[in-house]
C-alpha cells in the first residue's frame, strides 16, 4: 500500500507539524520508500506471539515499579522555568485558549 498526499496532511496535523508543500511532497516519497522495506514484516506469522515492550521481559518478569508517594523535590521553579519561551509571575504564558 502507498500513502497519498492527503494521508501526509492528516498525519502532519495529528503530529502538530506544519509542512511546506515541497516538504510534504518529499516526505510522501521518502515515507513510501521506507514502507517498501516494511512490507516484509507483514508476511511474518506472529499468531500466539506476545508483544515485547521491555526487552529484558524476554527472559524474566518485569513489573513497572511504583515509588513511594512522598514529596521528593524541593521548589525549584526559577531554575525549571529558566528555559521557558514566555513566563509571567511564575506562570507559563500561552496564546489565548478560550475566546
Amino acid at each position: 500500500m502507498s500513502l497519498t498526499s492527503q494521508d501526509i496532511d492528516r498525519i502532519a496535523n495529528l503530529a502538530r507539524l506544519e509542512l511546506k508543500p515541497e516538504e510534504s511532497e518529499r516526505m510522501l516519497a521518502q515515507i513510501n520508500g521506507f514502507f517498501g522495506i516494511v512490507e516484509a514484516m507483514q508476511a511474518v506469522d506472529t499468531s500466539g506471539v506476545q508483544p515485547l515492550a521491555h526487552p529484558v521481559a524476554a527472559i524474566q518478569d518485569i513489573a513497572l515499579r511504583l515509588r513511594e508517594d512522598v514529596v521528593s523535590e524541593p521548589n525549584n521553579r526559577e531554575a525549571n522555568q529558566r528555559s521557558a519561551p514566555a513566563v509571567e509571575r511564575g506562570l507559563f504564558l500561552v496564546p489565548k485558549v478560550i475566546e
Binding site: L3, D7, I8, I11, A12, L14, A15, R16, L17, E18, L19, E23, M27, Q30, I31, G33, F34, G36, I37, V38, A40, M41, Q42, V44, T46, V49, Q50, P51, L52, A53, H54, P55, V56, A58, I59, I62, L64, R65, R67, S72, N76, A79, N80, Q81, R82, S83, A84, P85, A86, F92, V94, P95, K96, V97
Partner: protein, 486 residues
C-alpha cells in the same frame, strides 16, 4: 615524550593518584585541546566550570578522598542534560537550553571524580547513523576528514579518536555507540537495557535507549561502566534492580573454552570484503587464544530493520510531543492561536530526519494502523529476542561486524535516508533484544579506515564482553594507532 592526551583513562587515574600531575593541569590541557578542535565534535565548553570541577578533584586527592576516576576528564554526548553546560540534543529546538539538573549518569561519573570537558555533537535527538542530522553542522572523522564519524554518538567517537578527550558518554538506541566506535577506531559498549539509568538522557525511543561509555580501550570502558551501572529506582521506572559491578575484576581471564557464535546472516553478500577480512582476522586471533568459533543463525536479522524503524519512530513521536514551545525549547515568533503556535514551533525547531520519524511514528500509532504496524513489530521483536536465546544455547558470546562497510563520505547518503537505515542491520538485532553489545577495533579496511568487531553478550554479561575485547587488545595494536596529525 608521552603527553597527557596519549594516556588512557586508567593511566590518567593512576598518575593523578600518584600526584604525577594535578587534575587542574589535566583539565587545562584537555580544555585547550577541545577549544582548538576543528572537527565539529564539541558543541559546548565551559572552561570555568571544568576548572572548578578539577579544583574540587585536586582538593579530594589532597585529603585522600579521591574517587575511582578522580580528576579524569571526559566529554558528554549532548543528549545528556547537564547543569554546567547547555544541552541541545543536536537540535535547534533546544538551542540555549539549560537543564536545572544533571542526568544520573553525569552525576554518577562526577561522583567517581570525573571532570567534564564539554558537550559532544550528535545527530538531532540521536536520530541518525552519520552525525549529519545535527543542526549544528557535521563532524569530521579524524581518520579521513572527508568521511562521516558515524552516529548518532559521532562527536563522542571523533573526539576520542582525535585524543581530544580520553573517554565520553554515548547512547545507543539502534547502534549509536557501536557504529561510531567502529567508524572511528575506538571502543564502546552498550550495556544491557535497564542497567544504566536513562534519567536525564533526552528520550528518543524509551524501550531501546541505553547509555554507555566510549574510550580507546576495553579496560577504560570497564572503568567507566563500573561507575555508570546500578539501579535508579526513583528516577527511571525501567531501571533494573541489578547491582553495580566492578567490570575490571575479570579482565584478563583466559578465553579457553569460550564459545563464540558466528551468525551466518552477518556475513552475507551485503558485507564489504575489507570489513569481512578485518573481522575474520580478529576472530582468528580469538581462536588462537583458545576460543571456539561456532556457526549460529539469527534468522530474523533482516527483519530487524523494519521492526526497529517502526518501534523507534513510534516511541519518538510520543516522546517528542513534549516539544510544543510552552515549557522549554523553541517557540515560533508568528502564530495566530495555540495550535498554530505548536505547529510552527515544531516545524521550525525540528530538522528533516526528526520530522520524518515523527510522521512515521504518528502514522503507525494512528487509529487503524496500530495492530498492523506497531503491534506486529513488537511481536517480531519478541521473536528476535527469542532467536538470541536459542543461539546462546550453543555459544557464550556472539561476534560479527558492526557495520557492512567502513565510514562513508560526508553527504553520500544525504538524499536517501533509507540507505542509512539499511546500514544499521548488524546493530539493530541486539538493540531490539536489549542485549549488551560492543565494538572493539579489529583492524583497518579500505582507504585505511578503521573496522570494528561487534561482540554481543547475553543479558548482564558485560564483564564477559569486556574481557574478550581486552584479550583482543592485549594481542593487537589497532586501538593504539592514531590518525595522522593527532
Amino acid at each position: 615524550m608521552t603527553t597527557l592526551h596519549d594516556l588512557t583513562v586508567a593511566e590518567l587515574a593512576q598518575g593523578l593518584k600518584a600526584k604525577s600531575f594535578s587534575a587542574t593541569e589535566v583539565a587545562q590541557h584537555f580544555v585547550a585541546r577541545a577549544q582548538a578542535d576543528t572537527s565539529g565534535s564539541f558543541l559546548a565548553v565551559n572552561p570555568e566550570a571544568t576548572l572548578a570541577q578539577a579544583k574540587a578533584s585536586d582538593a579530594r586527592i589532597a585529603t585522600g578522598q579521591a574517587g575511582a576516576l578522580e580528576g579524569v576528564p571526559l566529554g558528554h554526548k549532548d543528549i545528556f542534560v547537564t547543569k554546567d553546560f547547555p544541552t541541545t540534543a543536536g537540535s535547534k529546538m533546544l538551542e540555549g537550553y539549560r537543564s536545572p539538573f544533571d542526568a544520573t549518569l553525569v552525576r554518577r561519573l562526577a561522583e567517581a571524580g570525573m571532570v567534564t570537558v564539554g558537550k559532544l555533537s550528535c545527530d538531532e535527538f540521536a536520530m541518525g547513523s552519520a552525525n549529519e542530522n545535527s543542526a549544528y553542522g557535521v563532524v569530521k572523522n579524524p581518520w579521513d576528514t572527508s568521511r562521516v564519524p558515524g552516529g548518532s554518538s559521532g562527536g563522542s567517537a571523533a573526539a576520542i579518536a582525535a585524543r581530544v578527550v580520553p573517554a565520553a558518554t554515548g547512547t545507543d538506541t539502534g547502534g549509536s555507540i557501536r557504529q561510531p566506535a567502529s567508524f572511528c577506531g575506538i571502543t564502546g559498549i552498550k550495556p544491557t537495557y535497564g542497567r544504566a539509568s536513562r534519567y536525564g538522557m533526552i528520550a528518543y525511543a524509551s524501550s531501546l535507549d541505553q547509555g554507555g561509555p566510549m574510550a580507546r580501550t576495553a579496560e577504560d570502558c570497564a572503568l567507566l561502566l563500573s561507575a555508570m551501572c546500578g539501579p535508579d529506582p526513583d528516577r527511571d521506572s525501567t531501571s533494573l534492580d541489578v547491582p553495580a559491578e566492578d567490570f575490571t575484576a575479570s579482565l584478563g581471564a583466559d578465553l579457553k573454552g569460550l564459545r563464540i557464535g558466528i551468525p551466518n546472516e552477518f556475513f552475507g553478500e551485503g558485507l564489504a570484503a575489507d570489513v569481512r577480512a578485518a573481522v575474520d582476522s580478529a576472530l582468528v586471533e580469538l581462536a588462537k587464544q583458545g576460543a571456539t568459533l561456532v556457526p549460529i543463525s539469527l534468522p530474523r536479522t533482516e527483519l530487524s530493520i523494519p521492526v526497529y524503524y517502526i518501534i523507534a519512530p513510534a516511541e519518538a513521536s510520543s516522546n517528542l510531543s513534549r516539544f510544543d514551545g510552552v515549557k522549554f525549547g523553541h517557540r515560533a515568533k508568528d502564530y495566530t492561536d495555540l495550535e498554530s503556535m505548536y505547529k510552527k514551533s515544531r516545524a521550525e525547531g525540528f530538522g528533516s530526519e526528526v520530522k520524518r520519524r515523527i510522521m512515521t511514528g504518528t502514522y503507525v500509532l494512528s487509529h487503524g494502523y496500530y495492530d498492523a504496524y506497531y503491534l506486529q513489530a513488537q511481536k517480531i521483536r519478541r521473536m528476535i529476542a527469542d532467536d538470541f536465546q536459542n543461539a546462546f544455547k550453543d555459544c557464550d558470546v556472539i561476534a560479527g561486524p558492526v557495520a557492512p562497510s567502513v565510514a562513508w563520505k560526508l553527504g553520500e547518503n544525504a538524499n536517501d535516508p533509507v540507505a542509512d537505515y539499511l546500514a544499521d542491520i548488524f546493530t539493530l538485532p541486539a538493540s531490539l533484544a536489549g542485549l549488551p553489545g560492543m565494538s572493539v577495533p579489529a583492524g583497518f579496511g579500505a582507504h585505511n579506515m578503521p573496522v570494528g568487531l561487534q561482540l554481543i553478550g547475553n543479558y548482564f554479561k558485560e564483564a564477559q564482553l569486556l574481557n574478550v575485547a581486552h584479550r583482543l587488545q592485549q594481542a593487537t595494536d589497532f586501538h593504539l594507532q592514531k590518525p595522522a596529525g593527532v
